[in-house]
Symmetry: C2
Subunit: 345 residues, 2 copies
Amino acid sequence: ISTSLLFQSHIIFLSLGLKWLNMKFSEALYTIDSALLNEKFVKAPEGLYEPIDYTLGNGGKRIRPSLVIMACDLFSGEIVDAIKPALGIEIFHNFTLLHDDIMDNAPIRRGKPTVQTKWNDNTAILSGDAMLIKAYQYIATTPAEYLEQVLDVFSRTGLLVCEGQQYDMDFECRNDVSVAEYMKMIELKTAVLLGAALKIGAIIGGAKRSDALNLYRFGTDIGLAFQLQDDLLDVFANQSEFGKKIGGDIVSNKKTFLLIHALEKAEGTTKAELNRWLAATEYEPAEKIAAITGIYTDLGLDSLSREVMNGYYQHAIETIRKICVEPESINDLIEVADLLMARTK
Amino acid sequence: ISTSLLFQSHIIFLSLGLKWLNMKFSEALYTIDSALLNEKFVKAPEGLYEPIDYTLGNGGKRIRPSLVIMACDLFSGEIVDAIKPALGIEIFHNFTLLHDDIMDNAPIRRGKPTVQTKWNDNTAILSGDAMLIKAYQYIATTPAEYLEQVLDVFSRTGLLVCEGQQYDMDFECRNDVSVAEYMKMIELKTAVLLGAALKIGAIIGGAKRSDALNLYRFGTDIGLAFQLQDDLLDVFANQSEFGKKIGGDIVSNKKTFLLIHALEKAEGTTKAELNRWLAATEYEPAEKIAAITGIYTDLGLDSLSREVMNGYYQHAIETIRKICVEPESINDLIEVADLLMARTK
């Protein structure tokens, strides 16, 4: 990992328009960035290890490993034991992106060619496998007294993430996905790893079982709220503040919370119009985006989405407040959640 | 895993014309088959877990997990602690076959369609990932006092196996692979996992470090000898006793020990003839097989291969004899090596 990457995660946050960084979070990010800098991934055969370095060096917000550090810090002043396991979580996360990009045939990730584009599919498969094993090597540095417990959380979460990706692929060929199924899918694919990062940090920090569990729930609820926000922003974001092009999900018929709800709720001519746009093969993208956005608004899905999202957020905050530590140290994690949800004070 | 599979591994050995089975090995096989029978892999989403059941239920000789059990048994009467870790080794081995089959575009494995043929590439990638995580879950059941050590051997071996596969793919596009490089590749791709199976069994059995290491070396040497035998049998086997069609490696220009040696040793008209056959696109397979077999024989490569193979075998036997246990219990493992090398007494 090259030195130019130090603070890169900070720069990403600043470029997202997030003008302040919580101090504890900033420290955790710095710890992770510095630790990653000291790791050497490239060795022979280069065809196997270079893509790992490329993937890990390609940025990312380093949210998950920072959460491991912050959760550990809640219960123990000694975060050093959590650093390598935290990197294990980040390596695992990047492994899932690498393999997902093959399955989704994605050409670009974080503004750069994906591994299967820069190299080829076989390289992406095999380097991903090696990354998953590497992730376990980092997780295995957990102090002996917590190793069994941390391994258990890590492996169970890993399988859940695979299940989430499988459901996501299954849903592509189905037109009858329910909102409940969608929520389950995003919970598995996105939310549980945020929960697991916090739980693993808590375990290494010596937290009691109920506190670790409440952190897990806080993480998954924030993850769900974050994913719903992602679905909302694709349609209703302010283009000048939004990094991506608005309406990408609409153009690709992506089954988001909004579309699945619309398919459930729309009736009569609205339903016919929705189905016509979904089936359309030749159209002006801007026209499709405007039409479907109109349907979402008419059905009240923007406010419904915000309501559900706020529900998860509020539940997350209630849950984390139950943890037996100084209320002030809890505030640091809540601020990170706010940062993720782009809620500025 | 369905009940019809119980004893299937025994039937495979009998069908290979191996008329006797060492008692300890037979017991270990039975332990593994029975344990595998009790494991449930299928749950929702079926698209993820069915291919795992399919892969694990598709037979195989169960050599590696049986070696875990036998190695543990050398040092401890209590093999029960080794059973689940042994299954972890078998699941890992089958994961590598699953992903290798995608990379090699192989339509058939053990007489049945490969996962990417029966389902598709994405399913094969994702189910393989889940299998690797499952393998770790089984390895993680190792008793706490040995867990760190076993995890370390398992992860390091896993990375070596990935390296072996990478070298194997790299070699396909190269015409200057040396014999030393080839030996390194087969050591990584095939031999180290046999060594690791024995070492992990030994560790769980409470073996001292030097004994575990000598078992590892015994396993890798037998693995190398076995792979050289595989290369030899493809060309020089008795067709009536050989399961596959003779000459498959020759027809596909596979870079075996024989071909790499021939490319190094052949000169003048022999070299020209060899290169002509390697470049040929239209030919009668039997003619190519006869011609290249003739070149191998003329260059003395059949006896050279046997010599090198026997060297590894003898070295393996010398190494295992150094282990501090009753010489008779060593004999069981030597008999398994003989069984693998089809050396009948």
